[in-house]
Symmetry: C2
């Protein structure tokens, strides 16, 4: 149970940190093709693909949900993932739109390669999840047989996404901090490094909860 | 078994790719306080903390080792980790020495924070492993009780280290590629992105092998 409190705290703090980053240290949020539009990218990825996905993953382990109807729990799990995916799509549109306006090439970085792969696999995992576990006609034997794959692949995807976020943070700090530079450790650099540590902590707690 | 071939192939390819990177695209290897000394950092991290650690982790799952003496297998596992740790220490000295010579600050980046944390935890995992499983006086009940923690923490550490390496690759590509820049996708950028993809594939295969 204390793991859930820890997940709630590190998860909420991550969202607060990413908001303070873009609103206080950076250009704020807008949909204008500029840096303020880019800023939706980290905010929505942390809130959606990390926080909401993490929440969806550990929801079945919350003791008070064991009294709930299993069908209802499945819907909540699926809806959280769908919501996470929706935010992810907006977040991805924001960064492509920013790149196109600023005439920066798309898909050049390792971050963008692994990021887009993660988004596609996440979408696939949702489709397979809905087909197998939400549509009533799927045979129970299929559902059971596929469950270990669903859990393994879902957890791996979650871990991979945290790691994509850490690369994104690294890139943005190097690009955005020029004088003083990232290596001169201005307050923003330390603050956002702490955001990275929070994401790692959140990820570790979620994985611990699901694998125990 | 095909998982082992896949691990062997992606793992060996990773080492070949990192060598081609530093020898062909970069300044080569030397111990001169300059960029060629820095280059030992990625080479030894990929060879040691990723390849050797990954090998040590899956060694118990190789079918032909099941006929081997358990005590011998434990020694091999421990020695591989010790060798990995030795290379890690040299790799860390190389990057600090390079920074000090070039008057670049130490420990400013998220990569360095998570990297140094990983190295310290790795060292701790080795110490605890030796005390619990190599020293003959440790009670068997302790060994059994601690095994799930050892496996969970070891696997988490391995995954975290892959993710630290991806951040390191991202940093180095941004720092090293100036004209043409990383975003202009010169051959080196694509080549090293593929190295990143190989590391992710190796990591996924190792984790799959250990968790099935
Ligand atoms: C966690 C899930 C994330 C995913 C799946 C993801 C995905 C992507 C993708 C697909 C692109 C390519 C856009 C293009 O080429 O036009 C991109 C770009 C970028 N992202 Fe992320 N991102 C994530 C998180 C973050 C975070 C937390 C940051 C922190 C600021 C970030 C920073 C960046 C930056 C600076 C770029 C532009 C440079 C580049 O293309 O690599 N990302 N991201
Ligand atoms: C990308 C999206 C998804 C990811 C990453 C994901 C991940 C996971 C993970 C990690 C678990 C293990 C939870 C635990 O052991 O406590 C799980 C369980 C489950 N998921 Fe998903 N899932 C996704 C989408 C879906 C969808 C759309 C459905 C459709 C309803 C679904 C149905 C289930 C079911 C039925 C369980 C088993 C719960 C139980 O019996 O403990 N998943 N999922
Ligand atoms: C996988 C395990 C790795 C670990 C544990 C690790 C650890 C570290 C540490 C502790 C530092 C700080 C050195 C200092 O402050 O003087 C550092 C720096 C650096 N590492 Fe790594 N590293 C790893 C892999 C890599 C890889 C594969 C690359 C790819 C080139 C890389 C690139 C860099 C760069 C460019 C720096 C200097 C900038 C900075 O301090 O962030 N690292 N690394
Ligand atoms: C940082 C260093 C280490 C890491 C990351 C690590 C990681 C792991 C992992 C992931 C496993 C699970 C393997 C499997 O299930 O097939 C494992 C098993 C094991 N490790 Fe380690 N280990 C480390 C150091 C050590 C050391 C120094 C010892 C001392 C001998 C040790 C003893 C064992 C034993 C006895 C097993 C159980 C093998 C079995 O019965 O299947 N480990 N280790
Ligand atoms: O020393 C050992 O500890 C574990 C086991 O006793 C705990 O599960 C194991 O496999 C050994 O060889």
């Amino acid at each position: 149970l204390s793991a859930f409190c820890a997940a709630a705290i590190t998860g909420s703090l991550s969202i607060i940190f990413v908001l303070i980053w873009v609103l206080h240290y950076r250009e704020g949020l807008a949909w204008d093709g500029g840096s303020a539009e880019f800023n939706w990218h980290p905010v929505l990825m942390v809130a959606g693909l990390i926080f909401l996905q993490g929440t969806a993953i550990i929801i079945f382990r919350l003791p008070w949900t064991w009294a709930c109807n299993k069908q209802v729990m499945k819907w909540i799990h699926a809806c959280l993932h769908l919501l996470a995916f929706t935010l992810t799509v907006i977040s991805t549109v924001a960064v492509f739109d920013f790149h196109n306006t600023a005439k920066i090439p798309n898909m050049y970085s390792l971050h963008s390669w692994l990021g887009i792969a993660a988004v596609i696999l996440y979408c696939l995992q949702i489709v397979v999840g809905v087909v197998l576990y939400l549509i009533p006609i799927t045979p129970v034997s299929w559902r059971a047989a596929f469950m270990p794959v669903h859990v393994f692949f879902g957890t791996l995807l979650f871990v991979g996404i945290i790691s994509v976020a850490l690369m994104g943070i690294t890139e943005k700090l190097i690009f955005a901090l020029k004088s003083p530079k990232y290596s001169q450790s201005p307050p923003e650099a330390l603050f956002v490094n702490v955001l990275g540590v929070l994401l790692v902590a959140f990820g570790a707690i979620v994985v611990y909860t699901v694998t125990r």
